[in-house]
């Protein structure tokens, strides 16, 4: 499913301006420990986390993730936004919990 459709269905906020939202979402991964994300998330996954700092963007770049979705209403700071824009990483947000979003995403992708 295209990222744009996921954004629409889950009513997600898009933080990055030059959003590359035409890409395919291959699945999801939820976690806040960066090494686990690097080890277990697959390319094209939507990563759901409450971590909101610049290193998160680097992980998404290296692991080739479709986007980073900040749960629980977490907001990216200026440095994170800058790095995401430079690295062409899509940053998304939701006021819902990681549990809630994961459930909805799974239903959307597999239902």
């Amino acid at each position: 499913m295209k990222l744009a459709r996921v954004i629409e269905h889950l009513s997600l906020e898009v933080f990055t301006s030059s959003a590359n939202i035409d890409q395919e979402v291959t699945g999801g991964y939820c976690g806040d420990l960066l090494s686990h994300v690097l080890s277990s998330a697959a390319p094209g996954n939507l990563w759901i986390t409450i971590q909101h700092h610049t290193n998160v963007v680097a992980v998404a770049q290296v692991a080739e993730l479709a986007a980073v979705l900040l749960a629980d209403g977490k907001q990216p700071n200026e440095a994170m936004l800058e790095r995401a824009s430079a690295g062409r990483i899509v940053l998304l947000g939701s006021s819902n919990s990681a549990f809630e979003i994961s459930g909805r995403l799974r239903q959307l992708l597999t239902g």
């Binding site: 420990l33 090494s35 690097l38 290193n55 998160v56 770049q61 080739e64």
Partner: protein, 147 residues
Amino acid sequence: MKHTIRAGDVAHGGSASARIKMELIQAGVDATTARRAGIVAFEGEMNLIVYSDNGGTISVAVKPHAVVIDVVDTGPGIEDIDLAMTPGYSTAPDWATDLGFGAGMGLINMQKHSDRFEIHSQIGTGTAIQCWIERKGDWAMKRQEAS
């Protein structure tokens, strides 16, 4: 390609790895190998930032059949490598774990994404890690072209 990493420079953590991955793609390395190399470099880079006394270097060499990554620092050194390689074991300070580091998976991830992994460390001298990542995707492509 040699990248110098400063100790404690968490704000730039991962920048060198993202750059290394891009440089590998530009050098004609296949996407799967570049991704594995990126993960190895990221874990090495964060180890230098979080644990090293004086920072260190990440050197990347593109060989015909492999990408070789060397991560070298000048201390403090690892007292017990087997313990450091135990999943979940970490000596990360609180500020690092708050950011999602210190899962005790860094060295293991480096080993997992390498085809050959060597680590040497001495207290007071430093740590040197060498990872060979075979360019399997490139071989497959070459075989396909040949057939």
